[in-house]
């Protein structure tokens, strides 16, 4: 277990290093970033001053070292547009994103675990088919289309829900549902498949033969074992889907989170913010993956107690 943990952490650190390196060099591919931001009509002295200020005149490798170093001083440079430390801008966006993410994950678990179990138990009846149709719709309907249809119906036609911002609990409803759509589809399918695998196992028959009530057989013996597989999926698929979803959903609902920040800084070519935002989200995804990896290893007694794995 210890060596497994160490290996996971090393791999995590390596991936992260590769990503910041790629992010840095990719940003420098496009010529001088200053020109994008200030546009035409700037005197060449001012341009030179700006370049000097952002240290864009240094050799590439020096810039790279400075970029790496900026990860240790906690500021991560200044925004081209807002002229404040990037870390400040990104940090104030973290909590709103986390709130939306947590509420979407909560809804996903609440909906897809029961649906997935039901679809596995009544696989051949209409319940199973209905659940699979719902899962299919979740995959096939793009989140921005879902969001826009909801806005059209619930905000403009019925006037029930607010569209922009995150002020009240009412503001959570539409972004949460729009973000959870594809997650529910993914997790329902996996729960169903994992449960189907477990239902045929010998220990399920044993549990029934012992005379346990069916609900206990399903929940304790079935779900617990299926849970290990489901957990690994939450890490691998759901973290990525959620990160991609938050970019779109936050930008539609003007949710003051990191996804919205990424889109606006990409549109405004505010590279310091964009760089650090991408690195932050990547780090979040990598950490969640690694955490789930370890939780997976811990939850599986075969892995937990083995010496070499």
């Amino acid at each position: 277990m210890l060596s497994y943990t160490l290996r996971t952490l090393t791999r995590m650190a390596l991936t992260f290093f590769v990503i910041i390196t790629i992010v840095f060099f990719a940003t420098r591919l496009s010529g001088n970033a200053v020109d994008f931001v200030v546009g035409e009509g700037i005197t060449s002295e001012d341009r030179a001053l700006l370049i000097k200020y952002y240290e864009l005149d240094q050799p590439l490798f020096t810039q790279y070292l400075a970029f790496l170093k900026s990860f240790t001083d906690g500021q991560f440079g200044l925004s081209f547009i807002e002229r404040r430390p990037v870390s400040q801008i990104v940090v104030e966006r973290l909590w709103p994103s986390a709130q939306l993410l947590l509420s979407a994950m909560g809804l996903t678990l609440l909906v897809s675990l029961p649906l997935g179990i039901a679809a596995a138990l009544w696989r051949k009846s209409w319940i199973g088919s209905a659940v699979m149709v719902v899962a299919f719709l979740g995959y096939a309907v793009p989140n921005f289309v879902m969001a826009i249809v909801m806005v059209l119906v619930f905000s403009y036609w019925l006037n029930w829900l607010p569209v922009v911002g995150n002020g009240t609990p009412w503001h959570f409803i539409m972004p949460t549902i729009a973000m959870a759509g594809v997650l529910i589809a993914a997790l329902t399918r996996f729960t169903r498949n994992a449960m189907l695998d477990v239902l045929g196992q010998d220990f399920m028959r044993t549990a029934r033969a012992k005379g346990l009530p069916e609900s206990r057989v399903i929940l304790k013996h079935g779900l617990r074992n299926a849970g290990i597989t489901i957990l690994s999926v939450i890490g691998l698929q759901v973290a990525g889907l959620a990160a991609a979803g938050s970019v779109v959903i936050e930008s539609i609902f003007a949710w003051p989170g990191i996804g919205d920040l990424l889109v606006s800084s990409a549109l405004r070519r505010d590279y310091p913010v964009l760089q650090f935002g991408v690195v932050t989200v990547a780090l979040a995804v990598i950490v969640i993956n690694a955490a789930v990896d370890l939780a997976y290893a811990w939850a599986d007694p075969r892995l937990r107690h083995s010496v070499t794995a």
């Binding site: 826009i148 779109v248 930008s251």
Partner: protein, 297 residues
């Protein structure tokens, strides 16, 4: 499964398609027909579209579809905020969306397939490096990468195709490498090698024909994801730039007019839904078909 027409001999393409069609259930047949219709509409958009998609007309702005009050004759699906014909723009948007998606998917297939082949045949350090890249790619949400690249390189059509082409390469690389590694241990490869065939010849004549069917399935599935990706990027304003219409950018721009002119959004959004529905059902159908053939063999 044993009564399938595909047995020992490899079926001709036509026979294979026919037997696949017969194996489709009614929903799948509808999806196939919808998909074909969309492709035909896209291919012949310049002939079908009643208007120039970019032609503006200030006196006929924001007209609703035919059948509603204030509708203008000839504009079947109404007009947008600049008086452009929504139907014509949707058709051209569909054309561009499908074109970008198929170019992107093909690029991803070539890139990922080549890397997978190299990893599978090469082995050793090459393989380790390629698979490390695959792992990194899997760990990162692609929307993030696309957003980043488009911000840096600008949203020209070439860059968009490149970005869409980077989507999904890791899936092809994984599939191809897996299949290659599995097949390298098989006797017919050994026989070919004993007969003096080099790695290139083995790849072309012995490996590729055997990998085709999982690749086709993956291609279909990634096609629908790429349509979604392109639509999302255009919707956010990072994809194809105005005035050129793609389905995603029509939805993105049209959402500002939604309270008063929802038809601007509804037509392109419905087309996106039709594409993703049809392609996803098609992908499932092909996957089942590929499985059956594998089992029948």
């Amino acid at each position: 499964m044993t009564d399938l027409p595909v047995s020992r001999a490899l079926p001709s393409p036509v026979a294979a398609v026919l037997s696949l069609w017969r194996s489709a259930d009614p929903i799948q047949k509808v999806a196939i027909l919808v998909g074909l219709t969309l492709v035909i509409l896209a291919l012949f958009a310049p002939l079908i579209a009643p208007f120039d998609p970019d032609a503006q007309s200030l006196i006929s702005r924001l007209r609703p579809p035919l059948g509603f009050a204030r509708a203008k004759a000839g504009y079947l699906l109404g007009t947008d905020e600049l008086g452009r014909d929504v139907l014509s723009r949707s058709l051209y948007g569909l054309r561009l969306t499908l074109m970008l998606a198929s170019l992107g998917a093909t690029l991803g297939l070539i890139l990922g397939g080549a890397l997978g082949l190299i990893a599978g045949i090469g082995g050793g350090r090459t393989e380790a490096a390629i698979m490390a890249a695959v792992d990194t790619q899997i760990a990162l949400p692609f929307t993030l990468i696309a957003l980043f690249l488009l911000a840096i390189l600008g949203s020209s059509i070439q860059v968009i195709v490149l970005v869409l082409g980077l989507y999904g390469w890791e899936q092809y690389a994984r599939i191809v490498r897996g299949e290659v590694k599995r097949m390298m241990t098989m006797p017919f490869i050994e026989a070919a090698r004993a007969a003096g065939a080099g790695p290139l010849r083995i790849a072309r004549h012995h490996l590729l024909p055997n990998i085709v069917s999982p690749i086709v399935v993956q291609f279909t599935l990634s096609l629908s994801n790429i349509v979604l990706l392109e639509s999302t990027l255009s919707f956010l304003g990072l994809g194809v730039q105005p005035p050129t219409a793609t389905l995603g950018s029509m939805v993105g721009v049209g959402r500002d007019f939604m309270p008063t002119a929802p038809w601007i959004v509804i037509a392109p959004a419905a087309m996106i839904l039709l594409i993703t529905f049809a392609v996803q059902i098609l992908g499932d159908w092909l996957r089942d078909g590929a499985d059956v053939r594998l089992r029948a063999r």
